[in-house]
């Protein structure tokens, strides 16, 4: 039961398109020089509509989504994606409007963006929002650019940024893209940032600190207010990666903790679908004094009219053409209106309850490197199972045989063999109990029958994939000749 590539399904002369049959008046070679015309699109498929639909339908059956089952990826917040959001995004005024149409014709969509900005500012405890960044990483980049612009305006951009060792890889990558050197700050054995560690590293040459709260160990940064004071005292700014906001909605707000800049991930906290790798949306919220540096245009309200304001002379410019991933914003907006303040708070409470419950039930079987109370996610390691030669990778693959998508593995880096589990609030107790049973079964197998774990997965479409070979013999596209276009190292 395999599905060839669409190019392998292709047959010359098959048609999958429908276009008007009208006779055309223009011959391309009459208006465009021959040398600029294309003869053919070599290798492009020719398939009927049934061929194409069957092809992609079969592929979809070999893919696991949140609608298929539990997807406990830490820091990804794989919560249920409401179906009404899909209907919302398809409304014609949203789907078929052009970003350059006159503002007077776009009051509905600009109003949506304005209100979403306000909701996010309220949830994060900050003042001004840009919806332009297309994903969390672009939000981090935008936020760090704002911080750099702030320092440049004061006459010295400074040269470094402090980042804890628990940070997501996008944090140092985004800082580097802004021209900053990364100085790593170690978290304590309690798994959080300590004010004196930050104090030691914080100088007049440090632009700021990038942290995540709760951090990637699922722990609340209890010293965040003191840490922020240390950074501010030396003229620096505090950036918070809001990827883990699902733990805090209505409970606590980064803006109240001394945070100056925060990015949200609409495709995490706010239920928009992950789509196999996007589209996402990473709005950035800032304190009042940083509003002037945000990307243009800002979405504003003038009396009863909504507008796009380009008059921001200190703006960092643009990070994306047009205004951001509007289609994703529609879904997040719909979600926030569906939940309301009480619903969002309940979501965070249940997200934390679910993670705490999993943690409690799994402690007897798996090593827990940090024993502080977790929020919406918990991190275990493979220390107990390594004695029998079973690794986190092996266990992740074996979980697939039990019908679950594995948690995040080998992240954060401060934990060897990390297994980061984030259940989210949309999972029922029964699902969690089934997952716990599977994990306990695997822990048992690790003791009694490790081979079955080493050789996992057994019940999936393909057995364990040779990722080493994939990197050594690069085949990154199909080609007609023997379907190999190898770039061998």
């Amino acid at each position: 039961m395999d599905e060839p590539l669409i190019f392998e399904r292709s047959r010359a002369g098959r048609k999958g398109y429908s276009l008007p049959e009208e006779k055309l008046r223009t011959k391309p070679q009459d208006v465009i020089p021959e040398g600029l015309l294309r003869q053919d699109i070599k290798g492009f498929p020719e398939a009927s509509e049934p061929d194409v639909v069957r092809h992609f339908t079969r592929l979809s059956q070999w893919n696991y989504g949140v609608d298929t089952g539990f997807y406990p990826l830490g820091s990804c917040t794989m919560k249920y994606n409401p179906k009404i959001n899909e209907e919302a995004a398809r409304l014609k005024g949203f789907a078929l409007s052009h970003p350059f149409q006159p503002e007077e014709l776009s009051q509905g969509v600009i109003r949506l963006m304005f209100e979403l900005s306000q909701f996010l500012a309220e949830i994060g405890g900050l003042d001004a929002v840009s919806l332009q960044p297309a994903a969390g990483a672009q939000g981090e980049f935008t936020g760090m650019k704002v911080i750099r612009a702030y320092h440049e305006k004061k006459g010295n951009p400074r040269s470094a940024v402090l980042i804890p060792d628990t940070a997501h890889g996008t944090n140092p990558a985004s800082s580097h893209l802004c021209g900053y050197q990364v100085i790593q700050v170690k978290t304590t054995e309690k798994g959080v940032l300590a004010p004196d560690a930050v104090s030691q590293a914080m100088t007049d040459d440090v632009a700021g600190l990038m942290l995540t709260n709760p951090n990637t160990l699922g722990l609340f940064e209890t010293n965040i207010k003191e840490v922020a004071e240390v950074v501010h005292s030396k003229g620096g700014l505090v950036y918070c990666d809001g990827a883990n906001m699902n733990a805090l909605m209505g409970i606590a707000r980064p803006g109240d903790m001394g945070v100056d800049v925060l990015q949200f991930n609409l495709h995490k906290t706010f239920s928009t679908p992950h789509g196999g790798g996007g589209p996402g949306s990473g709005p950035v919220a800032v304190k009042k004094h940083l509003r002037r540096f945000l990307p243009v245009p800002l979405v504003v309200k003038k009396g009863t009219k909504y507008a796009l304001d380009y008059k921001l002379p200190d703006s960092i410019g643009k990070v994306k053409a047009f205004y951001g991933n509007f289609g994703v914003m529609v879904r997040a907006y719909a979600y926030i209106l569906s939940m309301g303040a009480a619903g969002l708070k309940r979501a965070s409470e249940c997200a934390v309850l679910n993670a705490r419950y999993l943690r409690e039930r799994l402690i007897p079987y798996f090593d827990l490197p940090y024993d502080s109370p977790c929020l919406h996610e918990c991190v275990f390691s493979d220390n107990k199972q390594k004695e029998k030669g079973v690794t986190t990778l092996d266990m992740a693959k074996r979980l697939m045989d039990y019908g679950f998508h594995p948690p995040t593995i080998y992240f954060p880096l401060v934990v060897q063999g990390a297994l980061m589990i984030e259940p989210t609030e949309t999972e029922s107790k029964e699902t969690l109990d089934e997952f716990i049973e599977a994990m306990i079964a695997i822990a048992k197998e690790a003791q009694e029958n490790p081979d079955i774990i080493h050789s996992a997965p057994h019940k999936t479409k393909v057995s364990r994939v040779d990722e080493v070979k994939a990197a050594r013999e690069l085949i990154l596209r199909w080609t007609p000749k023997a379907q190999d276009h190898k770039i061998v190292k």
């Binding site: 696991y64 994606n81 409304l91 078929l96 014709l105 509007f326 249940c350 697939m400 949309t426 990722e467």
Partner: protein, 444 residues
């Protein structure tokens, strides 16, 4: 709340299991002065029916290409999307899945993206493509940074006929990292190759030219390539309307080193400007400097063909600050939609579609030429967009035509002060001959 399964009994049982008395106990370790005592100030929650009513009102008060005849383009193009594209992309196995880091349970997405990468290479005639970037503008910015890494040169040269928002994004990304210069334009609206020849030197990492350019004009990529490579610079081409490649010779065949583009026109709605799709392709020699995710072909333990993400050592989750880019989430579902769209259109369909568009553009040109008071500042061949000069203010004209439910085009004053009396009019296959006649009638 229908998205939350927990009953009061569930909550009680689970609180008992973790030794907490109430839900707020779960947060007791958060310093009390940091906890929010009052509820968030958000509107009251809406039922599904009320929500749809509210959203329909917002949608209803927004014009769109179904309620107005629109001739807007300028980097966002409204094409007909076959029904099968939505049908496939709304399958929840695709829609609700995550980035395919666990290949054994993600072969669907992985194979689809491998096909997408191949289709992009074929369309652009390049060696290797990534799994997508955010949009054409940020893809162009990343291409410039990539050229800087490859050549170790500090400057980038952008054509002034490159989309103004692409240039803005490139400047933002490159601020503090690379110097940006712009070429001039010829009187005919094309990239001035003489100024290009003067400006491209040993300190220039790359030259970026859009084709067709922002004014819809087809650039002379062959001549540009000679000049650019003579200076040892990398040749980057940006394609804002990839449907044009059904008819036009692809950038790869002119020797481009990196090709970026906007994939939104390939099976994705305008959606008020986003999400887009950043096409990104390069030569085999540069693959290790290419940002973004890449899907590769390999085998499983039993020797069966399988797909997985590869060359992760370029990416942020492995290399962190030494990564080629910070990109993580990209435009997976949008790329999937484009793969479905291109598979349906195929070798013959894309060509036929671009011939139809060219035909409509020629029809528009012919009719506009008969209207007194209008002139054409640029005369080079175009594919789907034309610049028209007028005696009236273009802004006032656009405003007047709204009453006839026509959005006539984009006034160029905001981007090109010397063209403040000009309008950019775009055409797709959704603009019927009747629409074109209505526009021209209204312009007389």
């Amino acid at each position: 709340m229908r998205f939350l399964p927990h009953t009061e009994d569930d909550i009680r049982e689970m609180l008992g299991a973790v030794g907490a008395g109430s839900l707020s106990d779960l947060f007791s370790h958060i310093p009390s002065h940091l906890r929010k005592e009052t509820p968030l100030r958000l509107p009251p929650c809406l039922s599904e029916q009320e929500l749809l009513l509210h959203l329909s009102a917002l949608s209803g008060s927004t014009a769109h290409s179904g309620s107005f005849i629109s001739f807007l383009g300028a980097g966002c193009y409204d094409h007909f999307i076959p029904a099968a594209v939505d049908a496939i992309s709304s399958r929840s196995e695709f829609l609700t899945s995550y980035t395919p880091y666990q290949p054994e349970v993600s072969q669907g997405v992985l194979q689809a993206i491998f096909e997408y990468q191949t289709l992009v290479c074929q369309l652009l005639e390049m060696d290797v493509a990534n799994a997508s970037m955010y949009d054409g503008a940020s893809a162009a910015a990343e291409a410039v940074l990539m050229a800087g890494r490859i050549t170790r040169r500090p400057k980038a040269l952008l054509s002034r006929a490159l989309h103004p928002e692409y240039r803005s994004v490139i400047k933002t990304y490159c601020h503090g990292q690379m110097e940006i210069e712009e070429t001039g334009l010829t009187k005919g609206g094309l990239t001035d190759l003489l100024s290009l020849g003067r400006l491209a030197d040993g300190t220039t990492a790359c030259v970026v030219i859009q084709d067709p350019n922002f004014f819809g004009l087809i650039e002379n990529l062959g001549e540009a390539e000679t000049i650019i490579h003579r200076a040892g610079t990398l040749f980057i081409v940006a394609v804002a309307e990839p449907i044009s490649l059904g008819l036009l010779r692809p950038p790869g065949s002119f020797g481009a080193d990196i090709v970026v583009g906007e994939g939104q026109p390939l099976g994705n709605p305008p959606s008020f400007g986003g999400p887009g799709l950043g096409l990104f392709a390069t030569r085999d020699a540069h693959v290790r400097q290419m940002p973004g995710r890449i899907v590769g072909q390999t085998v499983d333990k039993d020797g069966k063909r399988a797909f997985c993400l590869t060359l992760a050592t370029r990416e942020q989750h492995i290399r962190r600050e030494k990564a080629t880019s910070n990109i993580c989430t990209n435009e997976g579902l949008v790329a999937l939609r484009s793969a479905v769209y291109l598979s349906l259109m195929g070798r013959q369909g894309l060509r036929r579609l671009s011939e139809i568009i060219l035909d409509r553009t020629e029809l528009l040109k012919k009719k506009l030429k008969r209207i007194p008071g209008l002139s054409f500042p640029f005369n080079a061949p175009v594919f789907n967009e034309i610049v028209v000069r007028m005696k009236r203010s273009p802004e006032k004209l656009v405003s007047a035509l709204l009453k006839k439910k026509i959005i006539a085009g984009l006034p160029l004053r905001r981007y090109y002060p010397e063209l403040k009396d000009c309008l950019l009019i775009s055409v797709t296959e959704k603009n019927t001959p009747e629409d074109i006649e209505a526009l021209c009638k209204a312009l007389r």
